[in-house]
């Protein structure tokens, strides 16, 4: 039991930071601790959580995906054009864009796998490509006026006090739960962890490394596409410059959530909490009204540093405790 708990230490630390932050905010602003603030936190950050779930899979497998922000931008532009100009029914447009994203992810995964190139630079090229194509499609902000969009943004689970659990938030919660099941309870999830531990050992164990790698990048791109759909629902528009830099927010959230960037270790729920902490900082700044937005960046940077230093420390301690018994029993 103690071993199980110590395995969860990073997530517990993240949860403690989130709760402590929430309590501090509530003590300063009495209106803060309301269901409405929590629900807004879920809605405003829904697309980021969805991306972060995909990023968690990629990072646990030892890779990185820098293209997700651009994929979101591309998705919103594509949806706006498909629905408004080309007259595609919204649901078909959703299916179409997810298929395109899957193909895009498959290409990146295949290049990483078969040409033995660093994920960092391949997905960087993917980032340029997706952003460039969305610029080519349109550089304007395009409103989406389809009935489905109006209907979906109107639809929400209502609670007392004006709190609403919106469709983006519901989709996000479903993705988090689905991601947890996929990562922690299926064979695919176990393979992802194994890949992050050692690619060679994974291959020797008889796991299909190529298939798993390609699937991981497909998953990440599809989730980025889904995040794009949610983003377009949230803003009711498509814009090629939307979601610039989201990949960094997602990576930061994953790291704050306790996932090791070297791979092999991490949790979906931690990433969810990581996004929520970033959202909490934003909400605090908007409640304060006097603080400027750049404090959010500095605070995120400090948190990143604190969590990474904490990770290095635990790794160091783990290595030492592993080394000690070996010395006792030679």
């Amino acid at each position: 039991m103690i071993r199980f708990l110590s395995r969860l230490t990073p997530v517990l630390a993240t949860a403690a930071v989130f709760l402590a932050g929430f309590v501090v905010c509530s003590l300063i602003y009495p209106n803060f601790a309301s269901l409405r603030v929590v629900m807004n936190l879920l809605t405003d950050n829904a697309f980021l959580v969805i991306v972060a779930v995909g990023m968690t899979f990629v990072i646990i497998s030892g890779g990185i995906d820098l293209s997700v922000g651009s994929v979101i931008g591309f998705t919103t532009v594509f949806l706006a054009l498909a629905i408004e100009r080309w007259g595609v029914p919204p649901l078909w447009a959703f299916v179409l864009i997810l298929v395109i994203c899957a193909a895009f992810g498959a290409c990146m995964g295949a290049i990483i796998q078969y040409f033995e190139l660093p994920a960092f630079i391949v997905t960087l090229a993917g980032m340029f490509l997706a952003r460039g194509v969305s610029f080519l499609l349109s550089t304007e902000s395009l409103p989406i006026t389809a009935d489905l969009y109006a209907h979906l943004s109107d639809h929400a689970l209502r609670f007392e006090g004006g709190a609403r659990l919106t469709v983006p938030a519901l989709v996000m919660l479903a993705v988090v739960i689905g991601g947890m099941v996929l990562l922690h309870l299926t064979r695919f999830g176990a393979n992802v962890y194994a890949l992050g531990g050692s690619r060679t050992a994974t291959g020797l164990m008889g796991i299909n490394v190529a298939r798993t790698t390609v699937l991981i990048y497909i998953l990440s791109s599809v989730l980025a596409g889904l995040a794009g759909i949610v983003f377009s629902l949230y803003t009711s528009s498509g814009y090629s410059l939307s979601a610039v830099g989201v990949e960094l927010d997602a990576i930061a959230a994953v790291v704050i959530g306790g996932t090791l960037l070297s791979g092999g270790y991490g949790f979906i729920f931690g990433s969810f909490l990581g996004v929520m902490i970033q959202g909490l900082i934003q909400t605090y700044i908007s409640f304060d009204g006097m603080l400027s937005s750049w404090w959010a960046k500095i605070a995120t940077g400090l948190l990143l540093f604190a969590f990474i230093a904490f990770q290095q420390l635990t790794l160091h301690l783990a290595r030492r405790s592993r080394r000690a018994p070996a010395g006792v029993h030679p």
């Binding site: 960087l124 090229a125 340029f128 490509l129 070297s262 400027s292 960046k297």
Partner: protein, 336 residues
């Protein structure tokens, strides 16, 4: 193994030449250079002038990448140092302004270097911290405004000229010469290549890998500071939101085009600078040809993929020309 510059640089220099000729085809006045007020003007000069910040960044980046690292923070460091330079320019003398801005770059580099070398954090994560927080710090310095200045001393660094060449180009060449003298004039370059090739073996061979790692990140911070000063001086102001935005990616791209393997090991400073000018020549060409500037990113993506595939361990040697280059660089920098 030791001497290779003239032989392996051919493909990059040919590529730069081809792009310049392509620019000349779409815009016949491309090579026209006129002298006005003792300074050279023309599209060709403009390519080098506009390419200077990325070229400066790539000088630091190539050393970091040769050590198997990466420095994502250079764009944010540019913003910080540009903001410092712009906000001090009108109240302090030029030496003070430069010392403050370069000192800030040095501190940023030192921070990155300590995180990587002492705390043992992977470079991509360690520099991500400053990449995220740095832009916030820059905005803190400018208080979220676009700071402008009128000091002619600082403006000279962006818009002036030395011996007819624009100052940014002269600064870039100067920085390149200084770095070459430091790295290739001593055993430092060999040690960097050795550490990038195999850090453990190098440490066992008695190379102070930790010290060199910190030094390389400090150098990258200094280069970024200089690039930030030049960028600020060029627009007579500092925009913390946009200064150096995404330039870290261009700098990495320039290094990769310059043939330095991302797996560490062999590197070439001159070719990285050539790579930066290749990128700028492409940008200028797209603008001149009347294609929408939006095509720029797609072209860049295609270039990255082409260079990468040529660099791939699987394909090494199958491409004549570039292939030979990458096959050679592979032997020095294969992942252990």
């Amino acid at each position: 193994m030791a001497l290779r510059l003239p032989r392996i640089g051919t493909s990059q220099i040919v590529a730069l030449g081809l792009i310049l000729v392509a620019n000349w085809i779409v815009s016949p006045q491309f090579f026209d250079i006129r002298v006005q007020d003792g300074r050279l003007f023309g599209s060709l000069i403009d390519v080098f002038n506009r390419g200077a910040p990325v070229a400066l960044l790539s000088i630091g980046m190539v050393l970091v990448i040769a050590m198997r690292g990466i420095d994502l923070s250079v764009g944010a460091v540019m913003a910080i140092c540009g903001a410092i330079a712009a906000s001090l320019a009108d109240t302090h003398s030029l030496p003070v302004v430069l010392a403050a801005a370069l000192g800030a770059g040095l501190l940023c580099g030192l921070w990155n270097g300590l995180l990587v070398a002492v705390l043992g954090i992977q470079p991509i994560v360690a520099t991500l911290i400053l990449m995220v927080a740095g832009r916030g710090i820059a905005q803190l310095i400018t208080e979220g405004r676009i700071v402008t200045f009128t000091s002619p001393d600082l403006a000279f660094l962006g818009g002036g000229s030395v011996l007819g060449l624009p100052t940014p180009v002269v600064l870039t060449l100067g920085m390149m010469a200084l770095t070459l003298a430091l790295v290739r004039g001593t055993a430092l370059g060999l040690m960097i290549e050795a550490t990038g090739g195999n850090p453990r073996a190098s440490a066992l061979a008695g190379i102070g890998t930790r010290f060199i790692t910190v030094g390389v990140y400090v150098w990258s911070g200094l280069c970024a500071a200089l690039a930030g000063i030049v960028a600020s001086a060029d627009i007579l102001g500092a925009d913390a939101n946009n200064a150096g935005l995404w330039l870290e990616l261009d700098a990495i791209l320039a290094v990769v085009i310059g043939g330095t393997s991302l797996f560490g090991g062999r590197f070439s400073i001159i070719l990285a600078v050539v790579g930066a000018f290749i990128i700028q020549a492409m940008n200028t060409g797209i603008l001149l040809s009347g294609f929408p500037p939006e095509t720029n990113l797609v072209v860049k993506a295609v270039v990255v993929l082409t260079v990468l595939l040529a660099q791939s361990p699987r394909l090494g040697g199958h491409f004549a020309g570039i292939g030979v280059l990458f096959k050679r660089s592979k032997s020095g920098g294969k992942r252990s």
